[in-house]
Symmetry: D2
Subunit: 355 residues, 4 copies
């Protein structure tokens, strides 16, 4: 395999070898379908151990499904979910909250800085909505993305302040942890500290972006919230008949800290990208790089040059902003990063010489 | 691996070796996420070839998702879907039609015999509903399960009669083909004859029950119907980021007729089960065995004996009916069937001797 | 005004004079909109007095809205509502339960006799559904129509048995009281005995069929259930800006027992119709006549003759059954009933003579 | 009746005498229920005449219902509706678009000035959404409020530019005409010019704010859009059984230009309020006063003084903005306006003297 040139997303990678091995090992003999198999049932204990508390775990196929199911539950019977204006749940899931709730949830975007919202603004918006009861969807929950869509991480104290503002207003707390591994790796805290100890009620636990083939999980810390989950997951088409094939991915993902090792590596590679590009004149970073990708404005010739050389990135924000996302994954090598950086420098120099 | 004793479902099996091999082969190098990869894009041509016509193919993770998406589309903007009273979509998906449509679809059960409904009854019910326009959900579609939940198959002329009644009333025609392979194998017709040539507009194409790990597809013969599909699939959490892993399963599934070979084998095994059990006094079959499972009343001692010996089956219908479903899969061996039959006979004899 | 010949529905009548007078009296001066006016606020006390307990009352415009709102609340966050197979909510509201709940409610029809369901059948169906948790919408509520769509009334002991079966299964109890007045008049009990004392949690309280112009109310006996009601009513378009015009109708309706006087009269008129028709050979009643309408098979010449003479009725059931509903209202006079009966007899005699 | 001090809303008024007279006149004899009466059927011709084209008219009880039904139809089968960020449909109906569509509609707020949006911004936002097809709800419609929530009116050329941008992107055009009468009165154009001739497909036609008791109408210019309307209205609880009582209000409303006469008067009164207040130091108007209300910042002592003297207004915007809405209605007299203005001046003078 040649050196990676595809930095479009952490999803361009395949599956980690440990995950694939687990999948193959699972294909022996018959087992109960629809999640009644021993691996799936065993996940409850594995995740309880990981999070140091009793939980209910429901494997699903995608992060959008995890978020949508959570949204439908925390907004139930009917209400608004306050989210960052950069939240995937709000802007990238084709109206998932409305869909999964049957029109009973609305996401309300809260202005963010570097992908993060703050308690004071949340409090102000919720209080205003409550004061106009015959006009606004009633506030019911917040959804916090950790790590954020801007490559940042809420510190534990930022997180606690946000949760406190929410709880004071009787809002449920959902965490979109599509990149929770990267956040925990960055914070150096325990998974428990990053979630329920900070007041999170239910978590979308991501694995696909970090080495799984296709497996995410909804983890309930408040088990009362899980009451309708098995029915909801079923009708939503995420009760896989051969569920064990999802469960073994999740099992392998958390075994021996694979998830954190993968995340630490991806984070470090993004840091390496950032440091490498920082010296290029005209490069402007758009947010701190605290997890596994870099948001940056590149000089046009550098961008053009990289694309001409076969590199892939994605754009973020409105086209006019010219923001490039450079995403690293569990399998991004130092060699690949260095090649990328070097190529960028070469194009930058070419431009300068041309002047 | 020991001889199969688990006849609970065709879903208790793992993945076929060809499918697993394809999955492994796909895990090399990076590729575009969210279905923009060459394999997924290539599926369009593969399925067009299979069905001898232009189609649009959308891989999804489960049959419930495939059915739900189809239901939301054929009932749109708002309407009723007429189904067999045995239909999975009606009774086994926790309200999937209502969910996927946001309360805009209702399934209306039509009385069935051996899992099949007939044109005259469909016509009568639809006509009555239309005559009461301010009270009934407006009829919009039918959904036909082929092969049925009762192990039977609509003949092509039965199918055409049903479609004709539907079309005369301007109803869309959905086919739930969770076991389409088994039906096509039974009918000995082409996939085209079994579907669009008979008037089917959109198909839930099943693979998981017949050898895939987790992969189904929605196949649009009427491409105008597909207009909102990519959005709907996204918000429903079935646009997998690493989509190629679903697509390679589907590709391998239809390559070299694997799907039909698997289905023919499973059908034959069910036939073998039936023939083997037929000689036991008190055994009463509940429907013809035209595809890969047997619906049967077993004498209580036979059932109890088989369970005591480690066999698994599922129940169908109300508990009082005592119906057992014995399901065969692509990997059910003759040896396993013969062992099952022999064990049943042994318990039957034991009973007789006990008298 | 000529003698009434329109027995199509209790809705063909206009408004009772007391209601109209109240409406006119309300059109003086300005007042707070959206139900913040004194009349609407005063309804709470009026209904508390009527029902001898604290309640929350929400005026709405139609019975379908009242039922739909209740359905969305008792099924929340997601679940099935068990209803009679004759229930208006199930078959006459174009999928209202699914709509108001956003696809989160499904009505499950329970077989009925004379419009009534019994506890044992309810219990059996709910227990079976619960035993199949990954396939059925989870049971959450029952909805009982009192008086029924078949002109009958649940006795208080029938009602209590039904409620007991529901409560034992943790189901909410909704009563569709579109004709509650007629039922209470028939039973001779108090409104409290007919509702919350029998275990009803929330009631659709009907007025329009019994003398109002357009006014119904949702009455919550379990006030916790009402938590989202004001938001739901608003988005559903039933928070009328000039709400007082609905509220004064309801106020006048319950004042001085107008509702019961109107109902007693309508019931008596239906009884008079029944007695008058009973003597005609070939007349076959389809259910007891306990409230304000008669379900009957008329000899074809009698029906044809009545229609030729300008009479209107509605049909019930499938066309082949030939069932006529003859509905009486608060303003149906004895003179009108006698004229109807006499005309029917005349056509019956004409047929006999023609033979 | 004393002089009006309630300027809280145009909804604090009762019904116009012509409307009430029509209501009373309708209460004679029986008639077909559910809109099959001659008055309701005759509305089709009346509105066709009013709008100089074939239309389909559906009376409903409230503006929220009219808007919600329209939203569910123009967004169908699934899509986004672009609206002004001040739109009632977006911010004042408790999530009505999501509700009526079952989660299949999302309102997307477009930044507005004086309550109006412009074609260029609409075009930019829609084009960006379409360019990101796997993330955004697909654009399907715009909804234009005429007159706006800021007391302004789109000129016919502004309206046409907006519609042109929408049509070029294949979007349906809905007009929220809760105050269409006031807009038409202001523009001095025909109802046809204000609506379908400018490209409007479906209209929420308001009457309640302008003299009706409780009656609005949905008017379809594109009759294909109306296909599911009768079913939707039924399940939404807006097919009133005694529909004629709504229809006669609408009939009287448009007869002899009552609607325009009422609107002209209310507009003139708002103008008179504005002119009267303009001379008070510190008064700052927040938008042009083109229809029947004034948005204004009053000096605190003026506001306090008016409230102390028994006047009522509503607030608009965030509390910190201190915006007062002073609403005039069909029955606001010159005398009442002059008394208001004079009282405001008195409090303003008192403040100055106190200094």
């Amino acid at each position: 395999m040649s050196v990676k040139k595809n930095f479009y997303s952490d999803n361009v990678s395949g599956a980690a070898p440990e995950i694939l091995a687990a999948l193959l090992a699972a294909n022996t003999g018959d087992t109960a379908p629809y999640g009644a198999d021993p691996t799936t049932e065993g996940l409850q204990a594995r995740f309880a151990e990981l999070f140091e508390t009793d939980v209910e775990v429901y494997p699903v196929g995608t992060g959008t499904a995890a978020n949508g199911l959570c949204a439908s539950i925390v907004a139930a019977p009917y209400g608004a979910i306050y989210v960052s204006d950069a939240a995937h749940l709000h802007g990238s899931e084709c109206g998932g909250a409305e869909f999964w709730s049957g029109g009973n949830a609305r996401t309300i975007p809260v202005p963010s800085t570097d992908g993060k919202i703050v308690a004071a603004e949340l409090a102000r918006m919720v209080d205003e909505a409550v004061a106009r009861p015959a006009t606004e969807v009633p506030p019911r929950a917040i959804s916090i993305t950790q790590g954020t869509e801007a490559s940042t991480v809420y510190t534990l104290s930022e997180l606690r302040a946000l949760v406190e503002a929410a709880r004071a207003r009787r809002l449920w707390v959902h965490m979109d942890g599509a990149r929770l591994a990267n956040a925990v790796a960055r914070l150096g805290c325990t998974p428990a500290e990053a979630t329920w100890k900070a007041g999170v009620d239910v978590l979308s636990f991501g694995a696909t972006k970090n080495g799984a083939l296709a497996a995410e999980a909804v983890v309930f810390f408040d088990r009362e919230l899980a009451r309708t989950m098995r029915y909801r997951r079923r009708r939503g088409g995420h009760l896989f008949s051969k569920m064990r094939f999802l469960s073994v991915q999740l099992e392998a993902f958390i075994e021996n800290d694979l998830w954190l090792r993968n995340a630490r590596h991806a984070n470090a590679m993004a840091q390496r990208v950032r440091e490498g590009l920082a010296k290029i004149p005209g490069v402007r970073f758009r947010s701190p790089t605290e997890i596994n990708f870099v948001l940056v404005n590149l000089p046009q010739p550098v961008w053009d040059g990289l694309v001409a050389d076969g590199y892939s990135f994605s754009r973020r924000g409105a086209p006019a902003e010219g923001i490039v996302r450079i995403a690293c994954a569990f399998d991004t090598t130092e060699e690949a990063v260095d090649a990328l950086v070097e190529t960028a420098h070469r194009h930058a120099r070419a431009r300068q010489e041309a002047w």
